[in-house]
Assembly symmetry: C2
Homo-oligomer: 413 residues x 2
Amino acid sequence: GRRMFEEARKAARRLAIASRAVKDAALHSVADALDANVERIALENAKDVAAAKTTDALIDRLRLDGERVGAMAAVVRAIAGEEDPVGAVIEDRARPNGLRVRRVRVPLGVIGMIYESRPNVTAEAAALCFKAGNAVILRGGSDAARSNAIIGDVIRAALPEAFRDAVILAASTRESVLEMVRAEGAIDLIIPRGGEALIRFVTDNARVPVVQHYKGVCHMFVDAGADAQDAARIVVNAKLSRPGVCNALECLLVDRKDAARLLGPIARALVEGGCEIRGCEEVLALCEAFALSEAFAVKAAGADDWGREFLDRIIAVRVVDGLDGALAHIARYGSGHTEAILTRDAGHAARFRAEVDAACVVVNASTRFHDGGELGLGAEIGIATSRLHWRGPMGLESLTTMKWIVDGDGQTR
Amino acid sequence: GRRMFEEARKAARRLAIASRAVKDAALHSVADALDANVERIALENAKDVAAAKTTDALIDRLRLDGERVGAMAAVVRAIAGEEDPVGAVIEDRARPNGLRVRRVRVPLGVIGMIYESRPNVTAEAAALCFKAGNAVILRGGSDAARSNAIIGDVIRAALPEAFRDAVILAASTRESVLEMVRAEGAIDLIIPRGGEALIRFVTDNARVPVVQHYKGVCHMFVDAGADAQDAARIVVNAKLSRPGVCNALECLLVDRKDAARLLGPIARALVEGGCEIRGCEEVLALCEAFALSEAFAVKAAGADDWGREFLDRIIAVRVVDGLDGALAHIARYGSGHTEAILTRDAGHAARFRAEVDAACVVVNASTRFHDGGELGLGAEIGIATSRLHWRGPMGLESLTTMKWIVDGDGQTR
């Protein structure tokens, strides 16, 4: 409740002025403590797994073994190794009256993290928020309650006492979510991570600002003149390397002018990879011409297959009228997450970069690169599809705000 | 209604990819049109003024004459002269796999501006949003409805047709405010400007992200060893140069160790400037010793005078236990707007810069410098006291978001 928020605020004030060395030393203690407590963590996790009433895939996400705890500790050490965003000077200018004006990065304050399932988020989110000088209130899912609790205990015990309340675990109840999202003034930012229903519930009830992580309905447009083998390879990577994640490809668009040449190799590679194709009429006709129809799971797309996040080995495929057709389809059906083009036409690439409105626009590469690690950010706390404050992979910098510092020698206005 | 939002979105999409030259030419047309329509604007404004049932000060803010319309046009031209924030590259890095990763500034989209009283905000907000590539829906106060409507008409008529719906005026009703703040997905950011009640109403009802502009309870701490004459001059400027604005000083803190020397000249200068002092007991005793009590309007501060925004020729004055006492007072009573220190001690200045949590921290100068123009930003659409997205004076950059652009030559993950 309120008491918890006040303790977090006090810890955040102390942490905001801590040096990088102090913060990194604390993070290394946390990593060492995680390594030293693998057995305790695995024991509590086993209770969560035993009690879980969910699908095998979700149980796999829930499970923690020695290797996964070791990976958590490694992420915490990697975060300790990253640059400290706090104190970075964004601008520094002298005014004609002699004032020096600087804009510098400072911590956001108290962050509320509301997430489901994977308990490693507990350690990663705690370390990211801590390194950026923030306190964090972590509200994980009830499926992982015991795992989160033990990880939280291990982290808190490893932190210096002054910073202990910079990491606080909230109860896995609906009430705690409501209390957090309405804690205006006490919590500065809410980051929800999980299914669309969770993010919708948080957003609808929030009085505290929320950075949303909505779904990724990622498109790839294969332009006329693209290399068909390259396209097949990249489409298969984007769709099938990990179909269940938000940067996986969901809809392929092919230029009508070149579809007869391009679609065969791409469709064949997808089907060989075990992917179901849901095509528009022209796609169906072309697939039939390639003898790629029923036997290989090529079906007619329904109206609701456009703009749909399958998160599975299913892809919607549509023939469009060139770049303009692709841009119109993406503007209508895209979710603003990741949109890609494969093209040899520099002008088309430039228009695609400029005109597509998404957190990440990719030219001639897989959509799967939209990820904090792949883009060079180090760890990420999520990928923002909302527009305010931050967009795309949220690393350390995204967990800060700014402060203006004005230095004078007696100036008046 | 929804139709209006859709038109704004379409115009925003076109404007997002417009070149700087095109946008600046449109802004110059707008400025010329404002100049050419001074009489029509003054006529409509006179009707607002005649109908106004408000105080003289507010009527003065409402009034538009040839000079004020000319000043509006000049601000629009100045905004045309500023750098275009859109397309600016925030970062640009090469990844080991050959991907080039850029983060660039792009427009926010559709901005909702909800404001009271001064009709010049209509032109300034429209020009700022336009230059940053955004559409704006302007919902002004009912007091200025006719003035805002004619200014809106003049601006829209001067814009190229493709961009006309980038500036839309909403009705001055309570319903239009509610419709705007709940238009999730249609409006990307709400900026309220006005009294605390307006900002509270907007925030409480908003589903769209809001950048808040709450009150400025600005403090100035005069450290032991400060020059008393300098301090008097700067305090008088901060408090009395324009007492009704948010960066005016509201509370003076003086180090107990040196209060007997410092307080006399400062209090005398304030009182001579027509300012009422509301002091703590020690301040009252010192003022009495300086023969500065009843005759000069020195009163005992009530408990609610700490943390109060007087916006008038009244100042709260308190003796504190050095820097730590000042920091504690500011942490408790400050509004996170502007906090200042006058000191000759570099260590104290450094601690004050680091430990005060406010949008702007000022060392050895007047609080009045916390202003977009004074800090070198050009025009501002307001000063944010909230922490997300932006903090402090909101110029063109604050009206943008970011987009990640990834360029490859066939990379897969």
